[in-house]
Subunit: 226 residues, 2 copies
DNA sequence: GCATGTGAATGGATTCACAGCT
DNA sequence: AGCTGTGAATCCATTCACATGC
């Protein structure tokens, strides 16, 4: 059952599923809080209680990268956090460009989560020439879409964010891929056509709203739900 | 295998999972496009090709609410769309309030998906008194947080949107629940404590970014991925 | 013939429960 | 004693494949 001699445990080479990845991110945020509270050690139960998750789930997820906990004690908050940051690729900083300098783009460029711990917005681009030269509150400048190529080259941008209103999303996305962007976070309400070697993450607000609506309807119709 | 005599098929009473719900929403968008293209009939294969999904999956999902397709032909676009809109609770319009009149709140209030086909933003609220009275481009007014209660009562608001920067999110959320809001869409990077009878939908941008980062790292380390 | 609807088969993910370490 | 790490069991989701009906 071992196709690769290195598969056993050290620097564990397990696949790590999509769902696990998302949870690792949640664990990481929780660990950051624990660290800032000065807590040195945490058990899977403790974590499970804070997040809404089963403790065995947490242990399984963490087992993806070798043994790390101490039996009878738990996990070192500092060490585990470092490990997760490494696993998620947050030890190097990823340069990002946001396409669309409207309200959404501006909200994102100023968001804490977009400018800390592994990420940095280096520029915004917009088709509207009137927007060129504007700067966000935190000092990121808006450039014409045509300068995307040189920005990506100069700053080795890895991540592109689509914050434009829908119809031109696929075009801009194609352009991003053309100039060498490797990962895209898409807020436009369109299914972006996938391309080999490029990772796309969709944030579909309409799906979220309709999920809420669906549950509201269930509740109305008497089916007990939360 | 039938605990309920009504379980068989008419107006099907199957549970409908979380994942299915999300896909129904995607199908619905696709059907809207098909309808505007004037296409009258669609097969599960056609849909499967447009969306990135297996055709059996689509049929299973749609089977949740009784037989609806025509064998040998497919589904009526108009009828199926109407059925999905009904299932997702989009035939009545849900009133929404957005907490936070910053860039994010303004982006959302102006977003097409927040003001059409089942949803309507009736007000924004903000703690900053300087924001009171401001109107969004599409005419939605900003009120002080303290008027939330009366707005929710007057407009029978069902959905609250948390578009504030993190730390006060839980408080505002609690307040929303207190004044009778039943469903919450949360953009703040905090796990909102769940409460019985209230549905919470988290949109965690940090998780999305870190997922991208993780895959970038995989690609770097040589594991083939997309 | 063609596409739906669905039991059966497969594949994953979650949870259980306990052996093993500290 | 307490908690991790993990096989085994369970649960859920997806896919296959075909009988059923247009």
């Amino acid at each position: 059952m071992n196709q690769d001699p290195e598969t056993s445990n050290r620097a564990g080479r397990e696949p790590i599923s999509e769902l696990t990845t998302a949870r690792l991110s949640v664990y990481l945020r929780c660990l950051a809080e624990l660290e800032s509270e000065g807590i040195a050690t945490v058990s899977s139960q403790d974590l499970a209680a804070r997040i809404h998750v089963n403790s065995a789930q947490i242990r399984k997820d963490l087992a993806c990268f070798g043994e790390f906990g101490i039996r009878g004690v738990g996990y070192s908050v500092i060490d585990l956090r470092a490990r997760l940051r490494d696993t998620l690729g947050l030890t190097t900083t990823h340069a990002m460009v946001i396409a669309g300098a409207g309200n959404l783009g501006m909200a994102l460029v100023n968001a804490r989560g977009f400018n800390s711990d592994g990420f940095k917005v280096v520029a915004m681009v917009d088709i509207d020439p009137a927007k060129t030269g504007i700067r966000s509150r935190n000092g990121v400048e808006v450039y014409p879409l045509s300068s995307l190529h040189s920005i990506v080259k100069r700053e080795t941008v890895e991540i592109g964010v689509i914050a434009i209103p829908g119809d031109s999303a696929q075009q801009v996305c194609d352009f991003m891929i053309e100039v060498g962007i490797l990962a895209i976070l898409n807020f436009a309400p369109v299914q972006i056509k996938p391309r080999a070697g490029v990772r796309i993450q969709e944030v579909d607000l309409r799906v979220n709203l309709e999920t809420l609506s669906f549950h509201l309807k269930l509740a109305e119709d008497g089916k007990l739900v939360l």
